[in-house]
């Protein structure tokens, strides 16, 4: 599969080497994306089952408390790790990085292939936990010990063990992929592609990957230690406890140690999901507003600043955990400081729209919806980061609403926007516009209707992770009506995702043919000689980059975009 000078490239011929055991980053990206979407569908169904119980308590006999907690846990874990992380890094990262930096492939293609297959094993182990005795773990996606490994929590046997094993496998996969992405960005950029000419998508994914590489070890360590606590009876995290009347052999461990390690991973994880979204949305807005991204340099520095700050804010998840209360001052301050670069990104997105020539295409709709959704999610983060305001709101529906808006729905909107945007490059065909708009409106309005009112249940004090709320006097009956409303909307939004899936499947074969550059974009992935790009991406010659990624509507240019690899006039003698 190595290319030799002069004789072009030899793409692998058989079906198996081409689509299954492929080392081509584009095929691996599609494999990652399809797998993540499939497991994400499981997560979606689980969330609707939870909503059924909350909207119509007790109506569905098969959703008992045990199952409810299993649904909550698996929904969270699947969405955060196996869908969003895998999709942004393994899917978008794999597809976009080599194309956007002008490389022929990732620098370690074999490792890249391995990364996908290991990820698939992690997913299969996760799925397997649904079928073992006792079912999957119901410990909440945070898996806090001691509860996660004690009876009294569903799936405290095989369920939690498989969960931890699956996470360990996933981390191995993410590390293999991550080494590739980082090294490719650092080493395989084509001639002229300086770091400050990289599209923001690459910057976002690059920084997120660095965070993933440095943060996942914390999850790895805590998962290994909890696994040993569970299987060998060590006491890393387990104090002496009397569990449901039984004295256990544990002694002296600290549940808080787990929380520190978990959130040292868990908070950067938020940015592992958010930074690629930031990057991609910047490119979508710039392209479809036909205007350069406003303040590119500040945008890059903001990504770097957010990445760096994100590793010193973790304990804001632990304000009421019982840790030394004096740490509250430090972590509240760092957390609110991180709002400054984040706010700057929001300002620059909306300023990019200003005096643009805004094409309200489907990707653009999703991108703008993201800005609105992310703004509210970010703002509610200021409640929870400010330690004393967090105290009454912690572990209520306010938190649920906050993190769903900021790191659930907002990144998913970007995923949709990105898929509508790059689908023509991946398949050579456009996604259906009408279906796309329908999908957009139901998803955008629906998620607002679900999550905005939910904040108010949190103000009221409704705790999260409750199977039922009967007989609580401070919760008025009207709260139940609101829950019914939210459930109905959630079901509609859930079903509406079928539109999207249908659109993907149908358009891949029957969609309108797209040209090589349907959106008139400047970045390199739109300048490939073939659409979809073939193995090796660039045919005979890799592109040479002459300018930054955002030459839209440059005064004096004939078109309203100038591709990064277009040779400036007067320099062309050599060709």
């Amino acid at each position: 599969m190595a290319y030799s000078h002069g004789d072009g490239h030899h793409p692998p011929q058989s079906f198996w080497t081409r689509y299954v055991w492929s080392q081509d980053h584009k095929v691996i990206a599609v494999q990652y994306t399809i797998t993540a979407i499939l497991i994400g569908l499981v997560g979606l169904v689980l969330s609707n089952l939870m909503r059924l119980q909350l909207g119509f308590p007790g109506r569905f006999a098969f959703i008992d408390a045990q199952h409810y907690y299993q649904f909550v846990t698996m929904h969270g874990m699947i969405m955060v790790i196996y869908l969003l992380t895998a999709l942004f890094l393994g899917g978008f990262g794999n597809y976009l990085i080599p194309l956007m930096v002008g490389a022929r492939d990732m620098v370690f293609p074999f490792l890249n292939m391995l990364s996908y297959w290991v990820y698939l094993v992690a997913v299969l182990v996760l799925v397997a936990s649904f079928f073992v005795p006792g079912g999957p773990t119901g410990a909440g996606w945070t898996l806090y010990p001691p509860q996660a490994i004690l009876p009294g929590t569903p799936g405290d046997g095989a369920g939690i063990i498989l969960m931890l094993v699956s996470l360990l496998i996933f981390i191995v996969a993410a590390t293999m992929g991550g080494l590739n992405y980082v090294t490719t960005v650092l080493q395989a950029r084509t001639e002229g592609m300086t770091m400050f000419r990289l599209p923001l998508s690459v910057w976002g994914i690059f920084m997120a990957t660095i965070l993933a590489l440095l943060a996942f070890p914390a999850l790895f360590v805590s998962a290994v230690m909890m696994l040993l606590d569970k299987t060998l009876g060590t006491s890393f995290f387990m104090p002496a406890v009397i569990s449901l009347g039984q004295t256990l052999g544990y002694k002296g461990g600290s549940p808080l140690l787990f929380q520190h390690l978990f959130w040292f991973f868990g908070h950067p994880e938020v940015y592992i999901v958010a930074l690629p979204a930031f990057g991609i949305v910047s490119d979508l807005i710039s392209t479809h507003a036909r205007k350069n991204i406003f303040g590119y340099r500040m945008m890059v520095w903001a990504i770097i600043a957010i990445g760096v700050l994100s590793v010193v804010v973790w304990a804001h998840h632990m304000f009421v955990s019982g840790m030394n209360p004096y740490f509250g001052f430090f972590f509240a301050t760092t957390t609110l400081i991180i709002a400054i670069p984040t706010a700057l990104k929001v300002y620059n997105w909306v300023l990019t729209l200003w005096r643009g020539n805004i094409h309200l295409t489907v990707p653009m709709l999703f991108a703008i919806a993201f800005v609105s959704m992310f703004t509210i999610g970010g703002l509610t983060g200021l409640f929870l980061g400010n330690v004393s305001v967090d105290i009454p709101l912690s572990n209520t529906y306010f938190v649920v609403a906050h993190f769903h808006m900021v790191m659930g729905v907002a990144p998913i909107l970007v995923v949709f926007g990105g898929l509508y945007h790059w689908f023509p490059k991946v398949t050579g065909r456009m996604l259906n516009d009408t279906l796309g708009k329908l999908h957009f409106w139901i998803t955008f309005v629906g998620t607002y209707l679900i999550y905005f009112p939910m904040h108010y249940l949190g103000f009221l004090g409704m705790p999260r992770r409750y199977y039922a709320y009967d007989n609580y006097q401070f919760i008025p009956p009207s709260a139940q009506q609101l829950n019914v409303f939210i459930t109905v909307v959630a079901l509609i939004v859930g079903v509406a995702q079928l539109l999207f899936l249908f659109n993907l499947a149908w358009s891949a074969f029957k969609g309108r043919l797209a040209g090589p550059n349907p959106w008139g974009a400047t970045t390199l992935e739109w300048q490939t000689p073939d659409t979809p790009p073939t193995h090796g991406n660039w045919g005979e010659a890799q592109p040479v980059v002459y300018r930054w990624a955002y030459e839209y509507s440059v005064p004096g240019a004939t078109e309203d975009f100038v591709p990064q690899n277009l040779m400036p006039e007067g320099e062309g003698e050599g060709e």
Binding site: Y144, Q147, P239
Partner: protein
């Protein structure tokens, strides 16, 4: 265009919702009004940003929508504008953070003379302890916990002998006196959450955590567990009753001291046996899963249990009688009643204690059981 309208509607609807929503913080019942103030400041600032950004987007989308022949401006950056925006943001952040940290400084410094209340959590119920006349709590430890000493007080510690134990999920507090709450857990993480008090804290096994507040309004307030603690998490309830000092003292004096609970003699039969069973059920935490009023919790209710015919997951049935109950409690997971998770633990009970417990269950169920037999 539709997008701009949608964004404007979202802004208007959000503001209206905020004003008209019937769902809001429960009325404050503690001294932590400053938390509410900080929250209000945060709502105003963030609300303003939310409105401005969304309206700005809506305006831009309409004003700069695609027109044939139009070109967007080319403006890579504007350092001055970015500087101003960052500066303004910083001011907003400080305006929220400063009052927040000021309250927090008070929040973590309980007054010296505060009344000390110990809260002990276990799946899925609360217990409480106050210091006795000596004003000191005795030491405690997981190793001391047994059927007679459910809170695990050190029996040899003289300071603990007069400690007042509150079994059951209801605790009383005097109005207007600062309370320092010490929290510990026997098994997993819990969280002592009384929304009207605002302040709260996790219970962590292996350590003692704390927080403080001053109740400022009489009334009954629900205690919730707000840290996922297993399948019965949503049912881990309790009640705080805030009342005037005199009523509180009266209530406190009616609660047993540690010494009293330890010197109880074992009952032998009849009424006394049932009563011992009831106390035992309370101290062993049976009520976390079994109600006595017929409502279903994690396990079946004890009301009407005795004498009924139980169906098992494997389809077999059995009559609930003395022998069955003895067998079941000794080995609870051997047969699993249909519709309930197989999570009942084995309890370390003496034969006499077991007899008392069964007698208690029988006392709750016989009437109904007899009816059932009569119907057959």
């Amino acid at each position: 265009m539709a997008l701009a309208i949608a964004l404007v509607i979202i802004v208007v609807a959000a503001v209206l919702f905020h004003v008209l929503s019937p769902w809001w913080m429960t009325p404050l019942a503690s001294n932590w009004g400053q938390i509410d103030t900080t929250l209000s400041i945060t709502i105003v600032i963030t609300g303003l940003v939310f409105v401005v950004i969304n309206l700005f987007i809506a305006y831009a989308v309409v004003r700069y929508r695609r027109r044939v022949g139009r070109r967007a401006d080319y403006q890579p950056e504007n350092k001055k504008l970015e500087g101003w925006l960052m500066g303004l943001t910083t001011v907003g952040i400080v305006a929220m953070l400063a009052p927040g940290l000021l309250v927090y400084a008070k929040l973590i410094n309980p007054p010296e003379d505060a009344l000390v209340l110990e809260v002990v959590g276990q799946q899925w119920q609360w217990s409480f302890r106050f210091a006795g006349r000596d004003g000191q709590l005795g030491s405690s430890g997981i190793d001391f916990i047994n059927a007679d000493n459910p809170l695990g007080l050190n029996p040899t510690d003289t300071r603990g002998q007069d400690d007042v134990l509150v079994q059951g999920n209801e605790v009383h507090l005097p109005l207007g006196r600062p309370v320092k709450v010490l929290l510990r857990s026997k098994d997993v993480l819990h969280d002592f959450y009384v929304q009207p008090f605002r302040a709260r804290m996790n219970l962590v096994p292996g350590m003692v955590t704390h927080f403080w507040f001053t109740p400022t309004k009489t009334g009954r307030y629900e205690i919730l567990c707000a840290q996922l603690c297993g399948v019965g998490h949503y049912n881990m309830r309790g009640m705080v009753v805030v009342e005037d000092e005199a009523a509180f003292q009266k209530w406190l004096n009616s609660q047993p001291t540690f010494r009293e609970t330890m010197t109880k003699t074992a009952a032998t039969g009849g009424e006394a046996l049932v009563k011992q069973g009831a106390t035992l059920a309370q101290s062993q935490g049976c009520f976390a899963c079994h109600s006595v009023d017929g409502s279903t919790r994690v396990g079946p209710s004890w009301k009407g249990l005795y004498g009924k015919t139980e169906t098992f997951a494997d389809g077999t049935t059995a009559q609930v009688d003395d022998a069955y109950l003895h067998q079941f409690i000794r080995n609870p997971t051997a047969r699993v009643p249909k519709g309930y998770p197989p999570i009942m633990p084995k309890f370390d009970l003496s034969d006499q204690q077991l007899a008392a417990l069964v007698a208690y269950i029988e006392s709750l169920g016989q009437g109904k059981g007899k009816d059932a037999v009569a119907q057959q």
